[in-house]
Amino acid sequence: MTRVDDLITPELASQLDRLDLLARLLVEGFLTGLHRSPYHGFSAEFAEYRRYQPGEPTTHIDWRVFARSDRAYQKVFAEETNLRCTLLMDCSASMRFCGDAKTRPSKLAYGRVLAACLAYLLLRQNDAVGLVAFDEQPLLRVPARSVRRQLFQVLQGLRDAPAGTGTRLGPVLHDVAERLPRRGLIVLVSDLFDDPDEVLSGLKHFRHRGHEVLVFQVLDPREVDLDYAGEVEFTALESPAVRLRTEPAHVRAGYRERLETWRGRLRRECRRHLVDLVELSTDRPVGPALGAYLMKRGRLH
């Protein structure tokens, strides 16, 4: 049985401790944190003066300045607010795939560690973190909160999420998008093995609702390389009745080509809709991979 402590190792936690997660967009929040609120409000840190434009509310006019200079200026505050992050964890059967159990974890285990890291990191910054585990439908929901105990809730949710079967990303994403009351950060951890149109439709739904969407596509190296020798009878994890006997050496090129086409389309569509797509391989340690992504996010914003 997977324990929470097993998911976040001290080594992994120390690596994440050196990085900060900076949200690219300002979201609505009420907890002060490292994230800038998209709204310049009243109870936040002073940012600058701005000339008053006719028609604007007079609430934020600095009357002292108006008295001294007879010019109307408004105080602009950049309030720091908390991030509301929802982790979407794909627990479908395809995520149980592990190309080499001796050297690397399954995609599901890898994704759990990744989600736990994110939860730990976000909660450490007082952000609210929630969790939705799903396969063809939501299996488990942990509402987003920023309390300390929330980490335990999330990690327990990750641990206790039942093993799923098939994948229906589209309906699940739409469902989650409809249920989230406020904009925030959507982190999807999945292999995205589903109809790409439906996947992209779900992601676009998030974007439509103003969410920042971050997708971690976790794949096993063998899924990418199809590195098998001899004749292999493949059994679909999500549909055990579906079997295919083939020689991977002969279909490898075509498979890679098709896989790359699929991934390329995902990249293009995500980029087009401002969805961050991070492709992770289970043979890479979670820490460096996550760190590399946060570094990249830091440079961009």
Binding site: Y228, F234, L237, L244, R245, H250
Partner: protein, 706 residues
């Protein structure tokens, strides 16, 4: 055409062809089972490649199976078009050694030399483990090797002793000997290879020989050599057929087959060319014509001669040997009835005077006359011709004795026209010469006298007399004679009524003639005819030569010399051990056999295989000579095609006959063993392996690119 295998046991190697299949399916069984996250792309690609890869997989498997099969088949040494049988093949070569095989081919070799060389080539080309035997097929067939030999150079060297003969080819004898050798063959199957120019011939025993060979289980392969007609030649020599008198001009005739119109033929006697004659144009291109050579009869003795022409491609039939015997003197014993005044008596004197006109015995005939009643058995010693004139009844014992003497090679001239001898004629004389016992006394009035007509002007007695002489014979008249039934006798002269007036016939080895009338003026005036003397002398000379053929003894027959009195006599005291024979071609002396037939010594030698003169000697004296010539059939343009011979043999009961055609040695070996497919199969196997490597590499390259 069937495919045969020299090493059929190695066909078991074809089992190895299953190895790729087994590997193929075993490798399929070692399929790993893997749970995979998503099969969508795999299935799409598999659907796209499944057909192509399935074809490639089965094609690779097919190439491997074929390559292994080709290797296994090549190891079994397959041959295409060959005859069934493995490495243990036995081949029996029947080499035609008849005279026609001496004909030269365009390459300068004789057919026989070509056949021997071809057989030698085949010997060495036969597969390892083969056994061979060879038969030299002349008039008789004999094996060349003491036993079956392994095929190879040793057997080829043993072939070199084979020599061609001058005799005919006896196909039946060759097949019988082949059947015997086939039964002794160490291995089966046995192929009998006939190397011959296929001169046609009659073989009465062919059916039995074919049945024998069929029972032995052999197959006959026919390989023809030569191209048929060897050219012209001398077919036969026709000697006068009667005793010749030294100094007389006799005609020696020959049946020849000229190569061209107007071809000249020559006649040699004792090594000297004494006559030449131009052959008339034959009716057909390959027809025979008769040429005659006028020859002055040499002195008494034994004369050897040859009759021939310029040699052609087959020289052995262009000079035909013959022996001309000119007797020194013929002893005639004339037995007659007692002289009396009765009708028909005393006519014997006309005969005696005709045979010895001078009465001094200096001519060809020395006549001694006795009364028939005193004729005893012992009187016939040394007699060449016995003339019985009006003897009447001979008595049973004397009649039997005379018949035995006649059958043993004697000669009897019967003249009897006594009407009183009617019963005796039928009781003793007619049975003596095997004539039907039918005799009717015929009497004609003067005005109704019978005339004689020549029935057979070509008979040796009448040949050469000329038309004028024969017309003169028509002046003779007959009034009284016995009308006899000729039976199987030849009629030389006949009356207008058809009654025979001069008959001739043979009894075993003896020859007889009969005049059914007596020599008196009241019966005939033949004695007054100018042809009477030569006619009587010719009849006597004819009878005294005996019935044995004087010439045209052909190779393949035993030379036999009957020491009849007119020939040189065996010296008293000579024994068989002292008799030998000088045989051609080199005159090497050999043993001769001596046998006595009816008190007549008969010498013989083994059946001849070479043409030429066989000279019999006894204690240094030459007893006689026999000319043995090449059979006329060897130079006649009667050549069968292999198809014709094969058809004839099949009709005779030999079912397995194969025409090999005009194949070379290599083709001949291919016909025996078939075309060696091993090299082709090896090449095909290499090609298949190359294709398999190429295809496999391409598949693997596609996989590695992936």
């Amino acid at each position: 055409m069937p495919v045969t295998f020299l090493n059929p046991a190695l066909l078991l190697g074809l089992v190895a062809a299953a190895v790729p299949v087994i590997i193929h399916f075993l490798s399929r069984r070692r399929t790993r089972r893997v749970e995979f996250s998503d099969l969508r792309f795999l299935m799409e690609e598999e659907v796209r490649q499944a057909r192509r890869r399935g074809v490639q997989r089965w094609l690779l498997l097919l190439l491997r199976v074929l390559a292994v099969s080709c290797l296994a088949l090549a190891a079994a040494r397959p041959h295409w078009g060959g005859l069934p049988g493995g490495a243990g093949r036995a081949t029996l070569f029947v080499i035609d050694a008849s005279a026609s095989m001496q004909a030269q081919q365009e390459d300068g070799r004789t057919r026989f030399a070509a056949a021997v060389e071809l057989a030698g080539d085949l010997l060495q080309a036969l597969p390892d483990g083969s056994s061979v035997q060879a038969i030299l097929a002349g008039a008789a067939a004999r094996p060349l090797f003491a036993t079956w030999l392994p095929a190879g150079s040793a057997a080829r060297a043993a072939l070199s002793v084979a020599t061609v003969l001058d005799g005919p080819g006896d196909l039946a004898a060759a097949l019988r000997e082949s059947a015997r050798q086939v039964r002794e063959a160490p291995v089966r199957p046995v192929e009998v290879v006939l190397l011959s120019d296929l001169q046609a011939g009659e073989h009465p025993q062919l059916a039995a020989a074919c049945a024998e060979l069929e029972q032995a289980g052999a197959r006959l392969l026919i390989r023809r050599l030569g191209d048929g007609v060897p050219g012209g030649g001398v077919v036969s020599v026709e000697l006068p057929g009667r005793a010749l008198r030294p100094g007389e001009t006799a005609e020696i005739a020959a049946v020849v087959r000229p190569e061209r119109a107007g071809q000249s033929f020559w006649l040699e006697l004792d090594g000297r060319r004494v006559a030449e004659s131009v052959a008339p144009t034959p009716a057909t291109a390959s027809g025979s014509v008769t040429v005659t050579f006028p020859v002055t009869v040499p002195l008494p003795g034994l004369h050897t001669g040859r009759l021939g022409k310029d040699p052609d491609r087959l020289p052995v039939d262009d000079a035909r040997p013959f022996v001309l015997v000119v007797p020194d003197r013929l002893e005639v014993l004339l037995a007659h009835g007692a002289d009396r005044d009765a009708l028909g008596r005393g006519g014997w004197r006309y005969l005696a005077r005709a045979l010895d006109p001078a009465g001094d015995s200096r001519g060809l005939f020395r006549v001694r006359s006795v009364v028939a009643d005193s004729l005893l058995d012992g009187d016939l010693g040394g007699v060449d011709l016995l003339v019985l004139v009006d003897t009447g009844a001979l008595g049973r014992r004397l009649g039997e004795s005379l018949r035995q003497w006649l059958a043993g090679g004697g000669a009897i001239f019967v003249v009897d026209g006594d009407p009183e001898h009617g019963p005796d004629l039928g009781a003793s004389l007619l049975p003596l010469v095997d004539l039907p016992r039918q005799a009717a006394w015929t009497v004609r009035e003067d005005a109704q006298a019978e005339r004689a007509r020549v029935v057979d002007p070509g008979h040796p007695v009448l040949a050469g007399l000329g038309d004028a002489s024969l017309e003169a014979l028509g002046a003779a008249r007959w009034w009284r004679y016995w009308t006899l039934a000729e039976g199987e006798a030849r009629v030389l002269l006949a009356a207008d009524s058809g009654a025979p007036l001069l008959l001739e016939g043979e009894l075993d080895n003896g020859r007889w003639a009969l005049l059914p009338f007596h020599l008196r003026r009241d019966a005939t005036d033949l004695m007054l005819n100018p042809l009477f003397l030569p006619l009587v002398q010719r009849v006597a000379a004819r009878l005294a030569t005996g019935a044995e053929p004087a010439a045209n003894l052909e190779v393949g027959h035993a030379p036999v010399l009957r020491l009849t009195p007119h020939r040189l006599r065996l010296r008293p005291g000579a024994t068989a051990a002292q008799i030998d024979v000088l045989a051609p071609p080199d005159g090497r002396p050999g043993p001769a056999a001596l046998a006595w037939h009816d008190a007549v010594p008969v010498l013989s030698a083994p059946p001849s295989e070479r043409s030429g003169f066989y000279v019999f000697r006894a204690a240094g004296d030459t007893l006689g000579a026999v000319a043995v010539a090449v059979p006329a059939s060897e130079s006649e343009p009667r050549v069968e095609t292999p198809d014709e011979l094969a058809r004839r043999l099949r009709e005779a009961g030999l079912t397995q006959v194969v025409d090999l055609g005009q194949t070379s040695a290599a083709g001949f070996v291919r016909a025996l063993a078939g075309r060696d497919l091993a090299r082709w199969l090896l090449g095909l196997a290499l090609g298949l392996l190359g294709a398999e490597l190429w295809l496999g590499r391409r598949v693997r390259a596609g996989a590695s690119r992936a």
